[in-house]
Symmetry: C2
Subunit: 409 residues, 2 copies
């Protein structure tokens, strides 16, 4: 594999790309003293694009954000955690619009250039007193906050254990272009169009339409390929903003000579965030990666990879470090796409356990050692074609049950 054309910016965050500031603080939506409201602000009108959950019960902020994105321009994103503002009726809609106008005022931008996002419990109205106070204070925090990216990343978390971010830089037309992202995940993670909440900033010069095409394509191979528990949230949203302040001359689109390297770096940011969400799934002790190859179509490969990664029986077997490949093949067989039942090879890491759908005698101790690691790769070769897909998830553990048996109480 060729070396990537990008480099990781150590210590970088969503405010590393030129033109972005961010902040996060505690306003009282979470009972504990952890950041629960945050904002990203761009000093110029940013080309912007978003993808949203396919869940029919979309939370109020998604509608507000859609409206703001009508013209492909954003100046700011306001986000709260601790309350999803979903299934909250007319009051919820009014609250989302109020968040937008309060943020516009506090940050000195137009209301229809502000995206709104929420994550947390469904079905409770926002404590707007806290939100009003928080947004007012965010305006000050944005002014000179050097650790704004860090504070923002903390502000979007719910039951997440760690923040998820990545910053990459690459050269385009002799200029350094930076791309950064921050995300939150944890539970109710089985995205279909976008994951819980993720934000990507870049100083690349790119129009909102090209950005939207790239975002959709990238999402299919990254955020839409992770699952924690098979439940698709009402609030999933992925927003990308490009300030255009990198100094490039030629605007990026599919005809730009550096499009593929930009798309590669953009994809890597999304893939990193998606994997980080999977690894930090509720109760997870390890990242699980399922690679399906030799498929007749990319869609088939994706369907199988997502079925295997979502299988409760595969997930519990991985938690128990049990090389129970029978559960893997059973999941392959119920994915709803054609598979040659006599041609499948399966590997756990480098350990071959099934060849041409026949059990292979393997070193159980070595498999146990491998499965005890904090990252497990399951490879499924269908021997039918040349397409492939990768999905990411996590194991199913006692802690997943513990966390979710007592989420509200």
């Amino acid at each position: 594999m060729a070396a990537p054309s990008y480099t990781v910016v150590k210590g970088g965050s969503i405010i590393t790309p030129r033109g972005f500031r961010a902040a996060g603080l505690h306003c009282g939506l979470k009972k504990v003293d952890r950041n629960d409201i945050g904002a990203i602000v761009c000093e110029v009108p940013a080309s912007a694009a978003a993808v949203y959950t396919t869940n029919i019960f979309q939370a109020a902020p998604l509608q507000t954000t859609r409206e703001s994105l009508n013209n492909g321009i954003l100046r700011a994103v306001i986000v709260n955690s601790g309350n999803a503002n979903a299934c909250t009726g007319k009051q919820g809609e009014a609250d989302a619009y109020e968040m937008r106008s309060l943020a516009a005022k506090s940050f000195g931008v137009d209301a229809d250039d502000v995206a709104v996002a929420s994550t947390g419990v469904i079905g409770e109205n926002l404590k707007m007193d806290c939100v009003r106070d928080g947004i007012a204070r965010l305006g000050d925090a944005l002014t000179d906050s050097e650790d704004g990216g860090e504070q923002f990343s903390q502000a979007i978390l719910t039951t997440d254990l760690v923040k998820k971010e990545l910053c990459l830089s690459l050269q385009i037309g002799g200029r350094t272009v930076t791309i950064a992202g921050a995300a939150k995940g944890s539970g109710m993670i089985h995205p279909n169009m976008a994951t819980m909440l993720a934000f990507v900033t870049t100083d690349a010069k790119i129009g909102s339409e090209a950005l939207h095409r790239l975002l959709k394509r990238t999402t299919d191979d990254t955020f839409n390929m992770i699952t924690v528990d098979g439940d698709t949230s009402t609030n999933d949203m992925l927003v990308a903003m490009a300030s255009g302040l990198s100094g490039q001359e030629q605007e990026l689109d599919e005809n730009h000579p550096n499009w593929s390297v930009f798309a590669e770096a953009f994809g890597e940011v999304c893939r990193h965030l998606a994997k980080a969400i999977a690894r930090d799934g509720e109760g997870a002790t390890k990242l699980v990666e399922v690679v399906v190859s030799g498929a007749e179509s990319a869609e088939s490969a994706r369907a199988i990879a997502k079925t295997v990664i979502g299988s409760s029986l595969v997930k519990t077997a991985v938690f128990g470090a049990d090389a129970n490949w029978g559960r893997i093949i059973a999941a392959v067989g119920r994915a709803g796409v054609p598979v040659n039942p006599h041609a499948v090879d399966i590997r756990l890491g480098d350990i071959v356990v099934l060849t041409a759908s026949q059990p292979v005698s393997f070193d159980e101790d070595a498999a146990l050692e491998y499965l005890k690691g904090d990252a497990v790769r399951i490879s499924v070769e269908l021997n039918m074609g040349t397409e492939q897909a990768t999905a990411w998830g996590c194991d199913l553990t006692y802690d997943y049950v513990r966390i979710n048996a007592a989420y509200r109480t």
Copy 2:
């Protein structure tokens, strides 16, 4: 609702319908001394029908059974537990055929009138020495075994905690017709065409084609409406046998004046077994029933009911007795069928928690008490049409994780 036209036969089992004998014993496939091989034998050629898993990796016995059922006639079923004979290649196929011919010889019937079923671990070859010994001894056990139905029901269990059976009788044309069923379930339960293993016997006079139509229709509303963990097994099979010894004059089919009462009783046997499998799901502490009404089509209602019942977040909330209806509405919204996002009512038992998609203030203590019970009903009214569907499942518990993190070892 009108009183049912059938009565429960207390102490009845699959050998209560005239013409059937059964047996079960331990032959060594299970390490512990529990029955692991069993048989049902009919003294006359029985009209028979079966439905099978849609999993692509179908276990060897399913092919053998399909061949035997070509002419719609069965005399016997041979079943083992402890080993699924799935993904076992040519040897597995040979073993399934050998089971069939050994059973034919031992029970004195033709080999092509014998169905074969297996359940247990995937990917290991059967210990045929044990199987041969077991089938030989089953022939004797069938002779005069009054508790044959009980022994058979025990023989088909794996991680099940209790046996699942029901026997009903009804009057058809002045004759008593009896219908009985036995099933096993536990894990890898998300049937699509049939569940793990279930057997229905009746002495009704009914042709194999009418029986097959009834079986398919009934399966859609019963076995195909349960889920334990979303994983569809390689071995699911439901076999029905009708001895015709009830003494009825007119053969049952859709034109028979008593068809609907027979179908009702047949459906009740299947529904009872399906619910028993759900209630005894791996690690389950309670039965969960999801009733979706007011749908535009039965297919929509089924899709939503199955999505809600399969949601890990709903299942853990029920385990934790948490009235977290946000997870229910989120599952409704990702079922992949059209729903009016402003019209949904949700009840937990009789407690209304959501009306027209808006939260209703409810008595949390009463909800907690209700959810602590051993049977929980979630009702979802879509207010779009007149169709409905019911699905059954169970809660997701620490024990599910414990059982499945260490199944093979």
